[in-house]
């Protein structure tokens, strides 16, 4: 770790985790997370207002914990990065407001960054600098996309995405049908290990010859699994939970890995990065490893804690923004619940920098409002 590498604090509040991470260049120094997932569990999903309230409570304590863990002084930071989108509007706003206040109070540059690009960039903390271009498969409760990133700070191209449910959402829904609680990913992964993935032939969405090669669809699979379970119940038979979990999971990871490997081949990319909460799934990791090896592709998957939402990933991308001299955001930075993946960060308008005292407010008017 070189002392001249940028020291950046990152804040992530796009969903139910309040994350604050600190990195120096590509070295992880701290990864503090406060989660409200237990509060959401009884509702079977993330309740936005509950998440926002929890972010407000956890924000400052989590920042202070991260600084302590990293053993650095806030004064030594080279920048503050924050997820400005996409995500839950009210949740994002807590993190963005905190980041702006922190950057302003400390006199540090502010970088509003993209949540999805951060999920990719976090792998630098695990496996060193990203190859360029990087092929990334992002799978979580909120996203399922294939992205090609020639430059993670400036050029991220969506190749495909889910046309309905995110992969992680399908796990949650099937877990609900099986009365396994929320979130569904870890429990299905565990039960699937004791089941037969070939027991039931569930459909593989969007894998026909005429289907979009890189898009995903998990809605049909979800319905098919639910129907199969209901039919068993209606017939008074016991539902083979382990086999259902294994067969459902196999259908999801089969499609994900097949499409990701194909994208690598088509684009001539010899690395595949997998991120997002579903990347913690053991079967996804195993099958991706197997298929990548066969195709001569090097697989990069961060440790599970860096795959789920966290502040370190935001700090990692922020550090890259500093290292590459990207323009900081300005004090008007918004929380943008639908920030396009093609915008890795939200640069400020050139005339307004962090400590300008002669703000021209004209440009504010054209900005979309993101509360709704």
């Amino acid at each position: 770790m070189a002392a001249d590498e940028p020291l950046v604090l990152g804040i992530e509040t796009s969903c139910d985790e309040t994350g604050v991470g600190i990195v120096r260049g590509t070295t992880l120094l701290a990864d503090a997370v406060a989660s409200s997932v237990d509060t959401h569990a009884r509702f079977g999903g993330v309740v936005p207002e509950i998440a926002s309230r929890a972010h407000l409570e956890a924000m400052v304590p989590t920042i202070e914990r991260a600084l302590k863990e990293a053993g650095v002084s806030a004064r030594d930071l080279d920048g503050i990065a924050v997820t400005s989108g996409p995500g839950l509007a009210g949740a994002l706003l807590v993190g963005v407001s905190a980041a702006k206040a922190y950057a302003y109070a400390l006199g540090k540059p502010l970088y509003g960054v993209n949540h999805l690009a951060s999920h990719i960039c976090v792998d630098q903390l695990e496996h060193g600098p990203l190859p360029e271009p990087t092929m990334a498969l992002l799978v979580s409760g909120g996203h399922s996309s294939l992205l090609l990133a020639p430059d993670i700070t400036a050029d991220v191209r969506p190749l495909g995405a889910t046309i309905d449910d995110a992969a992680g959402e399908a796990f949650d829904k099937i877990a609900r049908v099986l009365n396994l609680g929320f979130p569904g990913g870890p429990v299905i992964d565990r039960l699937a290990k004791e089941g037969d993935p070939k027991a039931i032939a569930f459909p593989r969405g969007l894998t026909g010859p005429r289907d979009a090669p890189y898009d995903f669809s998990f809605s049909g699979l979800k319905t098919s699994v639910a129907r199969w379970i209901e039919a068993k119940r209606a017939a008074g038979e016991e539902v083979p939970v382990r086999d259902v979990a294994a067969s459902f999971q196999e259908a999801v990871v089969d499609v994900l890995t097949r499409k990701a490997v194909r994208a690598c081949k088509d684009e001539g990319v010899d690395h595949l990065m997998i991120g997002g909460g579903v990347a913690a799934n053991s079967r996804l990791r195993a099958l991706a490893q197997e298929r990548c090896e066969r195709a001569g592709i090097r697989l990069r998957v961060p440790r599970p804690k860096l795959c789920t939402d966290n502040g370190a990933m935001v700090a990692a991308l922020g550090a890259e923004m500093v290292a590459r001299n990207r323009l900081p955001s300005d004090l008007e930075l918004s929380a943008d619940s639908s920030l396009p993946v093609t915008e890795p960060h939200v640069p400020g308008t050139a005339h307004a920098h962090a400590h300008s005292h002669d703000h021209d407010h004209v440009h504010e008017i054209s900005k979309d409002n993101l509360y709704s």
Partner: protein, 215 residues
């Protein structure tokens, strides 16, 4: 500062008087407006944030999304600068400003709680609230507050329930700071900067609860 109502308001107070202030009314852009307003107020006063020895923030009640902007900003300033952060009930700030305008008690302060309700509280005088703030439908409290002047946006929105309307309509951070300075000088403790939501969260999980990558 206060973001509990449609007003995004910031003021710098030196313990005696307001040195500079800013007030903008925009119910949907608290997040974008607050920090630039802080920056403007400090610039106007010819000082920097690190000269500030304490932060006072309106704790509501108010619509949550905007309310949190002020609270998290104040808390973060407090942490970054190692200065105390004090909470003041937003309705108390409005009552204090009404008193500065010459209104004597008793009276009521009512703000917009959306969903056809108001956040409100009763005041003995500009400095003394009687009871805790509440959230109700205007028609349901009209009888209980009949004959009393009503201050704040609630009176503007519901004249049929609150016919004796008095200014000001919005909270001003200058009044909030002045009230806090007065209480601190008198040795009173100010409450912690905790939000007054007054309603439980809507525990509904939206159908697509997290945004997916736009195509």
């Amino acid at each position: 500062m206060d973001t509990a109502t449609p007003a995004v308001t910031v003021a710098l107070h030196d313990g005696t008087s307001v040195i500079a202030s800013s007030g903008q009314v925009d119910a949907r852009r608290h997040g974008e407006l607050l920090l630039p307003a802080v920056d403007r107020v400090l610039a106007e006063a010819g000082t920097k944030l690190d000269a500030v020895t304490g932060v006072v923030v309106g704790v509501g009640p108010g619509p949550y999304t905007g309310l949190r902007v002020g609270l998290v900003t104040a808390a973060t300033f407090g942490s970054a600068l190692s200065v105390p952060v004090h909470g003041v009930c937003t309705l108390d700030g409005i009552a204090y400003a009404a008193g500065q305008d010459g209104l004597e008690g008793p009276f009521v302060v009512a703000t917009d709680a959306r969903r056809k309700e108001v956040y409100w509280a009763r005041y003995e005088n500009a400095r003394t609230r009687t009871g805790e703030p509440a959230v109700d439908r205007p028609a349901d409290i009209a009888e209980a507050v009949a004959g009393l002047p009503v201050v704040g946006a609630g009176a503007v929105l519901y004249p049929e329930s609150f016919p004796d309307r008095r200014g000001p309509e919005h909270v001003a951070a200058g009044a909030l700071a002045a009230l806090a300075a007065e209480r601190l000088a008198a040795g009173q403790e100010l409450p912690a900067p905790q939000p007054l939501y007054l309603r439980r969260p809507d525990a509904q999980v939206p159908k697509n609860y997290k945004v997916v990558t736009p195509k």
